[in-house]
Symmetry: C2
Subunit: 160 residues, 2 copies
């Protein structure tokens, strides 16, 4: 008979565990982007921040962090470093003194427009590998798993 399916009651070998698979694939993907971004002296995270602000310009720090999937303490450093390079500006909200609004600068807008097409290129490469159908399928599965994990926090926590 055909190869038996993996047995989940035992531990899969490390190489094929889900966290590792996700990590390895992500690393492979991000590597491509990093090659482009490093040419502009940007880290992947810094680009995420710039990208997030592009289009919804003044954004408060916590929303920015959430969209970038970066924790507040990390975002703080990233934003400060970008601010030091005149790629971001910050100001305290007039309505709420606790909120800090972050926005792009003329310099970063130019930079973003220069980088975008290169990034689009990378996406095209990736699509070329899996094909649009499988790529959409992958997005779907990832989202389904993520939603499932975030919904059913622990055995018994539907809606408080």
């Amino acid at each position: 008979m055909a190869a038996s399916p993996p047995k989940y009651h035992l531990l899969r070998d490390l190489t094929h565990s889900l966290p590792m698979s996700l990590l390895r694939t992500r690393e492979a993907v991000v590597q491509r982007f990093r090659e482009v971004l490093s040419q502009h002296d940007l880290t992947e995270q810094q680009w995420r921040v710039l990208r997030a602000l592009d289009g919804q310009d003044p954004l408060e720090t916590s929303l920015l962090a959430e969209q970038c999937q970066i924790l507040l303490p990390s975002i703080l450093g990233i934003v400060k470093r970008l601010e030091a390079r005149d790629l971001l500006s910050r100001r305290v909200s007039a309505k709420d003194g606790r909120i800090t609004l972050v926005s792009l600068t003329p310099g970063s807008r130019v930079m973003i427009d220069r980088i975008k097409p290169e990034i689009v290129e990378v996406y095209a490469q990736i699509e070329g590998i899996l094909g649009r159908v499988k790529l959409e399928q992958l997005y779907g599965l990832l989202e389904e798993l993520e939603d499932g994990l975030r919904t059913s926090t622990d055995p018994g926590n539907s809606v408080p």
Copy 2:
């Protein structure tokens, strides 16, 4: 008509970019494991190292790093910290003075056996969310994408 498919010649909104999807899903998954591991004062990376050694005990540093998908400079610190806690031991290879062999200790073996079942539990939860079929499908797509990315390094690099 139905919703039109995403247009890849434009940039997907950040939230739905592939690196972000992979990151978000991985974070959601890893979060579950972290909850277990933190009870044992282990980080995700430290557990990866212990898991990798479990079964193929004395392993040289670079192979360990490769299997854990962790770069050498990082592995070094992780190993040293675990060594300081008597969870790992290191010795220079007799045959090759450049190689450092890392192995588990009695203490870490006990610890691993105690943690394993809890980790298996988490895997069961995850499988329960997607179901075995979709989970396997996900593994397949991730692997296919990863292999594709690693193979076609750049437009033109089949075999050197």
